[in-house]
């Protein structure tokens, strides 16, 4: 495992490269974290997944987007375009480090949206969406509900935190400035994913798309309907309460889904 800074010298992004152990494959895997408080909750399980995938023979890179984790940038200056650029830079870095000719992406929560957005601009072999944020607008509502649920738990004691409204930037411990909220709100995997034929995309859609979910939710069934017929939809009951007020600072430790992802990729990828 190699931790590193990469990207523009003045705008360094942090990542961890996991070289393949054992057999080698022609594809490299880029892991896209969630954002906001979900990034902290997911960090441990994404590390475990990266280690497992590297053990199975894939070169893997996990990385922090601009303005998140150890990467450069202040939370208040984050834009969706900067996150998109972070994914592009990470993809280039991974190809460079691994020498792989093909790239597959695994995205968790909003990371699935960013992975899907990348797949509209560059060739992607496989796109695996794990508990994806299907609708950006619904996601922002979820975050506000979490924030307000936390405040309700502290009812009766003085607090500096204000309730989250549609005009709030400070939501659930992270900053979502107006332009970012607007951009997140416009994201909808059912309407503007790389597989949507009416969207003007620069490249062919991913060869394979996979959706893996910790619960069978209506939003995931809707997304499945929008995916190509050849895609997979797997429900693998697991720890997936990303926005539960009582556990919001607690790492989520799904076990079954990471194991399923390794199995799926072993089957699907050469």
């Amino acid at each position: 495992m190699t931790p590193l800074f990469f990207g523009h010298p003045e705008e360094q992004l942090y990542g961890v490269y996991h070289p393949p152990l054992g057999g080698t494959t022609s594809a490299a895997l880029l892991l896209c974290y969630p954002v906001g408080h979900e990034y902290m909750r997911a960090h441990e399980c994404v590390c475990r997944l990266a280690t497992a995938l590297a053990k199975a023979g894939w070169p893997v890179l996990r990385f922090d987007y601009w303005g998140t984790g150890d990467s450069v940038g202040a939370d208040m200056d984050v834009t969706l375009a900067r996150w998109d650029e972070s994914v592009c830079l990470a993809a280039a870095e991974l190809k460079d480090m691994s020498g792989a000719s093909r790239l597959s992406l695994v995205g968790l929560r909003f990371g699935a949206v960013l992975a899907a957005r990348y797949a509209t601009t560059a060739p992607v072999q496989d796109l695996l969406l794990w508990d994806p944020v299907v609708s950006g607008e619904a996601y922002l509502d979820e975050l506000r509900a979490l924030h307000n649920g936390r405040l309700a738990e502290r009812r009766g004691t003085p607090v500096t935190a204000a309730p989250a409204t549609p005009a709030s930037s400070d939501i659930a411990g992270s900053q979502y400035p107006p332009l970012l909220r607007e951009a997140i709100g416009s994201c909808d995997l059912r309407r503007n994913g790389p597989w949507c034929s009416d969207a003007a995309h620069a490249v062919r859609p991913p060869e394979r798309s996979m959706l893996i979910a910790s619960a069978d939710l209506p939003a995931y069934r809707d997304l499945q309907a929008a995916l190509p017929a050849t895609s997979r939809y797997d429900v693998c009951l697991d720890d997936g309460q990303w926005n539960e007020a009582a556990r919001w600072g607690d790492p989520l430790r799904p076990r079954a889904i990471p194991a399923r992802i390794v199995d799926l990729l072993k089957r699907e990828l050469p």
Binding site: M1, P3, L4, F5, Q12, Y14, V16, H37, M40, H43, E44, C47, T68, G69, D70, D75, R150, R154, G156, T157, P158, V159, T160, A161, A162, D170, A172, G173, S174, Q175, A246, R247, W248, G249, D250, P251
Partner: protein, 295 residues
């Protein structure tokens, strides 16, 4: 200000980020920042990253790193307790900074379990000349009990819930619960992953041991800043509790205490975090008052 990745430790198992100022302040200690509970080194709501970068702008360098077995640091092969591992990792970090960057003085900052590890590092290693504990050690006092009782009696819902769920038919049990719950981490701390794990659990030292350690720290001249949030009411519920906890000790201006009553345990709202960052930065300024070296 520049940042770079560094790996260190006996087997290179520890991973961290060095934040180095363009111009280092004379006499500034290197600040060590690490995990809050089992959260990785960036800190809750990116607290450690923001603090490291602000301090670097003020000429104060830092190393934020993952303790072994957390974040990007590999686990150690031994089966030592979290407290022992943290102390050993802190020594590895200090050795690295001494050898490669000629560091001589160190400060440590931690939140929740991380605060207890910071306190322990200061107690066990004289190279640590200053430390910051966020929601660190706490012991119940007489007034703490009164505040708990007052809080209970001011809420009908709490009384009913307490009677229904906690005491049942045994008032003695109820009284015991009321008076012992302060020795446990609150639900918020549990939610932050700070307790309940075999690897990373921590039992605070007995009060007498802590008193002795505080006396030693005062004698050494070790400076400390203790900040408590308002979400740990089952542990700390009034501004002067720290002074009352260690009532027999004369701190001689080595200790500063603050109570952020409106903040949650993770200082998660922007206003609380900003207040905290300013408080810690100003305190760090105080402990290294020299002007920056000429470039």
């Amino acid at each position: 200000m520049s940042e770079r990745v560094i790996t260190f430790g006996e087997q290179g198992e520890l991973t961290g980020i060095l934040s180095q100022p363009a111009v280092m302040r004379r006499g500034a200690p290197w600040l060590l920042l690490w995990n809050t509970g089992v959260q990785h080194r960036v800190g809750p709501c990116r607290l450690n990253v923001q603090l490291a970068r602000r301090l670097a702008e003020r000429g104060i360098p830092s190393l934020r790193f993952d303790l072994s077995g957390l974040g990007d640091s590999a686990p150690r092969a031994d089966r030592r307790s979290g407290r022992e591992r943290a102390a050993s990792d802190a020594r590895s970090a200090m050795a690295l900074l001494e050898q490669r960057l000629s560091a001589t003085r160190f400060a440590v900052l931690g939140l929740c379990t991380g605060a207890d590890y910071a306190y322990n590092a200061a107690v066990t290693d004289e190279r640590v000349t200053a430390f910051v504990c966020l929601d660190g050690l706490s012991y119940p006092t007489f007034r703490f009990g009164l505040e708990r009782l007052r809080s209970f009696l001011s809420s009908r819902t709490r009384i009913l819930s307490f009677l229904r769920r906690a005491c049942g038919r045994f008032p003695a049990l109820a009284w015991r619960r009321l008076n012992t719950s302060g020795s446990r981490r609150s639900a918020a701390a549990v939610a932050a992953g700070c307790t309940g794990s075999d690897l990373f659990g921590w039992a605070p030292p007995p009060r007498r041991e802590a008193e002795e350690a505080m006396r030693t720290l005062v004698q050494r001249g070790t400076r400390s800043l203790w900040i408590y949030s308002g979400e740990e009411l089952a542990l700390y519920n009034y501004r002067e509790q720290f002074r009352d906890m260690f009532a027999g000790i004369e701190f001689n201006d080595t200790v500063e205490v603050d109570y952020f009553k409106e903040s949650d345990h993770l200082f998660s709202d922007a206003a609380s975090r900003e207040r905290l960052l300013n408080r810690v930065c100003l305190w760090m300024d105080q402990i290294c008052p020299e002007e920056p070296d000429d470039p």
